[in-house]
């Protein structure tokens, strides 16, 4: 595949962000490669109803 890019004027006024979290990237610039991966686990089993049992110790 041939991929041709012409970078002309790039001018941004204002960027407002509340949060950048959990291995995220906010970038003003160029990069060759970028690879992001995330797992987030909230299965029904993780809703524990009943007496408070501490989690597995460290």
């Amino acid at each position: 595949m041939n991929y041709q890019v012409y970078n002309r004027d790039l001018c941004v006024g204002s960027i407002r962000v509340l949060g950048v979290s959990s291995s995220s990237v906010l970038m003003v610039g160029d990069t060759q490669t970028i690879q992001l991966a995330a797992t987030f686990d909230t299965p029904p089993e993780s809703l524990l109803i009943g007496p408070f049992v501490p989690l597995t110790p460290e």
Partner: protein
């Protein structure tokens, strides 16, 4: 290849926490990793010595990445080699995140979060407010 220059007039970041980075300038390689057990409890009960990543598979399961097999030839022409931003306002940067002004080479980031909620049984809550 001629690179572009990033020009930011003003940046304001309120908080940077938990191994996050604010980088001004170029970099070659960024590898970020963060893992968290987010436990939400109806009762204020917290023991400082609990929580073990190894018992939850979400922290060890492999994340498959499909290899790029397509052969790509990329040609970039910089007609105006400046990325201009007037103002950036960020409240928080957290958990191995990166705010980067400038160019980079290879970026690879990974986050793993296990969310647990512990609540009272509804019937018990009606019968006795101090059920534990």
């Amino acid at each position: 290849m001629l690179q572009r220059t990033s020009s930011v007039d003003r940046i304001n970041i309120d908080t940077i926490a938990f191994s996050s980075v604010f980088e001004i300038g170029d970099s070659c390689f960024i590898k970020g990793f963060s893992r968290a057990i987010a436990d939400q409890r109806e009762a204020e009960y917290f023991n400082a010595k609990e929580g073990n990543f190894s018992v939850y598979p979400v922290f060890s399961e492999p994340i498959p990445l499909i290899p790029i097999e397509e052969d790509i030839t990329m040609q970039t022409t910089q007609l105006n080699p400046i990325i201009r931003v007037q103002n950036i306002d960020i409240i928080g940067v957290s958990s191995s995140s990166v705010v980067h002004i400038g160019n980079s080479g290879n970026i690879s980031m990974e986050a793993r979060v296990k969310h647990i909620r512990q609540v009272y049984p509804k019937t018990a809550l009606l019968k006795d407010e101090n059920f534990s």
